[in-house]
Amino acid sequence: MLKYSLRRLAYSVIILFFVMLIIYTLMYIMPGNYIQTKAIELATKPGATKSADDWLADLNKQYGMDQGLIKGYFTWLGSAFQGEFGDSWKWNMPCTEVFSSRIWYSFALNVVVMFFEILIAIPLGIHAARKQYGFADYFATVFAMVCISMPSFFLITVLKLVFAVKLKWFDLTGMIDPRIHDSLSDFGKFLDVAKHFVLPAVALVIISIGGLMRYTRTNMLEVLSSDYIRTARAKGVPEHKVIYSHAFRNTLIPLITILGGSLVSLFSGAIITEQLFGLEGIGQASYQSMVVGDIPFTMFYLGFVSILTLLGNLLADLLYAAADPRVRLS
């Protein structure tokens, strides 16, 4: 298992190298990128002594963009290995600082979402599987499908219309209520921020609930059709015991696997949701950086996300093997 993990890790490093190369290339070839914009801005400032081309050359040198695609990538890679991710162009501070000032908002949001996702989706999925082809099953299936098929931006707009515009329970965007926030106590401030996280959390829960529910239902159905369940029933074990002791425990194996795998994604932020709700999380920061072509921060964030993905996959596989002794990793 250790050998397997090490091999996977080695592969992951190679994959990561190419993934980052692709992202770097995309960012590098963006025409009219951030540096060009900045050069023109500096050259047209009153009292500017250098032309836009001179500024461009200067800035390219300053940002290490003058050495071509491949060399530039290796320069980035070299400094990244030393933990130097550079300053974000868009935010004008070190990438790590941007990251640490924002990551916890995203993390908190994702933790809450995951909690409610599990709380709602798994019982619903189990219930649907017990009453297969019944009304509850159809309802759950359709509901899950609607959740999966719902465009997040549409759901968010509907939520905003209903709860922010019509009912005026929440603000349309932002993390704080600027009118009262400063006058609140520390706990009041926390509640104010928490209030602004309600709608995003609801939106994310609705969007993510469907997948988990379907997964639970499918696995539960599979377990329920297995021989040992039939044996248990034949022995006269009470139905609720059959479901919750025998079946559910076995359903937990794949569930733990995917949930464990998605633990790392708690840190990855929700790009569209955060952007549309104006939450200053890592997702919003990355969206705004990507749109303006901020290479250091985009590289940093996408590198982070890629590592999370690779780690998540590895973790899921390891968990699967750990939870289910029938599975052998090779």
């Binding site: 692709i22 025409p31 509907v158 749109v291």
Partner: protein
Amino acid sequence: MASYNLNEILKKRAAQNKGKEKKEMDLGDTARVKVLSPMRQVMKRFLRNRLAIFGTVVLLIMFLFAFVGPLLLPYGEAETMYKYEPMVSDYSFVQVRTEYNGYVLNPEISASRAAIAKTNSNITQMIKDGKETFTQVANDGFVYLLNREGEGIYALSQLSATKVAAFGSGMVKVASYDGIKKAVSYEGEALGADFEQAVTENCKGKKNGTFELGGVTYTYQPGSATKSFEIFTEPSEGVRYTGAALSAAFETAVQEAKVGDLIEVDGKRYVLSSPATDDYEVYEIGEAEPFMVYTTFAFDAVVNSLPLSNEFKAAALAAVYGEGTFEAEAIVNLEAFQKQQVEKALAAKRAEHHEVDPAAAETQPAPETESAEETGETGEAVPEGAVPVNAKFNVAPSTEREGVFVISLEDGTPYAELNNVVVRRYNGDDAMDLDLKNAIRDKVAEMMEAGATNDQLEYRIPKQDEKGKNLYDEDGVLQYEDSHMTIKLRTTGEYVVSASQTRYLIDKFAAPSSKHLLGTDGDGFDVLARIMYGGRISLLVGFVVVFIECFLGIIMGGLAGFFGGWIDNLVMRLVDIFYCLPFMPIMIIVGALMDAARMDVTVRLFVLMAAMGIMGWAGIARLVRGQILSLREQEFMTAAEATGLPTSRRIFRHLVPNVMPQLIVSATMGLGSTILSESALSFLGLGVKHPLATWGSMINSVASASAMEQYAYIWIPVGLLICFTVIAFNFVGDGLRDAFDPKAKR
């Protein structure tokens, strides 16, 4: 011979056979079991799935809606809708004129500009002093006489002037001395050689001084030019004559008079001028001949836009308080003029029509000659009398309205009106009907009396067509519409009339109506049409992207699965890389990249589809490889290899068809998710761009905080369409999977 009936025989045989078959059938007969082909089995299972049927129906409706719908709808994807709608705008202004406008009566007289420029202030002074005349001695040697002809009209004349005398308490200039030329020039009489010598002796340097000569004290002071001096004497009491002395009556008269007065003594007329304080000069003036006339009156022709020449105006003004008749060049045939106006308007419209209609222009074999003919026709079509002719007019005070003069033709037909309340269009044009002008004037008069700053008026104004020009019917009759006008007093003293007028506007954000079932959007596009075309693009993007994904996926997965070994390893690492690439961030970067490159919208659409396809093939490749790995070990593949089939045939004829079920399921689900991501990207403004319609960008265009409530009828149906389409694809995908392999783990 018995009759032979083929039909009967056949029937008999059929009956015999039927009986035989029944007899031969037993319980163990395999024919008793109805065997369905695998395809029909799948079909049967699929049709039994209610959700799948629902999805299929929704998809069918969606396809009809997106691909057939636009054919039935009369509007295009980016076709701007227009509408006639009342729009309130500043229509005209009303001003009570206090400035006097000058009209030249006699162009042959060239007058001093300075004198003319002062006229308005002189008139103000006259009104203040209650005077009838005012004279002004200008520096061009003429005297200008302003004469009040009557209320609102003043005539300016130029008169010859000769200086006859001077008086006053100021110093009197007698001579000037040029120090360079050593010459003395006198103002009046020469004072002799003694004087000149004294001047030459004294006037040196740059100083003032005095010298005495013959009992008279002379004062000198430097003049404006170098080394020049001016010499003055103490003023003498009484009047100093330039020429012969005049009577005592003259002296008293001039001393009592003020500057500007007209002095009449002994049948001669004099004017005063004051070159310096308390110093006066008296001029004798000749006959007055008015050459300009000043007025606060404005001319309103009875017919809209009738041009009145300045000569006509001047002559009319001169006649108002004079003879009452005058002669001038003007268009007198009003009917003909009106007809001409209409012709012009219609011709302009026709010309425009020709311009915008290239097909019509092409069909004309020789457009040049044609247009020449046309202009010739219109030239001929100008009705006789629509050109200015010399005619006699009468001017008389209006019987109906106070302070208004009516100019009429010899036969008594009203021709124009003089009014000092000016009503003009807001842009300054004189393009309003006289009755409208008078209605506004009456209202303004009422307002002035009541001291009101706001009032309202209902009146008719000309209708406008698409181009903002006046609208005529087929008979060339101007069309009118009733307008609600509000009159407001501005702080500048003008009254501004804002009128509601029906205009041809882009039909923006129209509410749903029978014409536009879902209204129109911010560009005046029909929302229903946009939704249909948006559906086309969304479905198109879905299919193309999934096709690219499958194409790449099958090839790569097929290669990896079939050959195994290092090819498999390589392809799978590539798959891993693409699996690891975060989809949404990469698409956002690609979108920003396309934004920065300012890509054409159509090119952008293709690049977007390619990018999404390339990002999505890894899943398909993994699926195909997995399937092929298990299929490869089966007997039919060994058989295929044994028969010596070429590799490509084995892959694409034997393996791939067996992967098809899973592939179809995966592709159907992929369609849904592709549509979902495309709409999200378009919503963020990074996907398909305006003017191409897509569902995502349509929602984005009205999803701002201020618009989302008001235009819910635009974005909610669109959002639901996306939702339904994706759900339908997912249901169908689910149904297909269940149908292909009922026992498969979902």
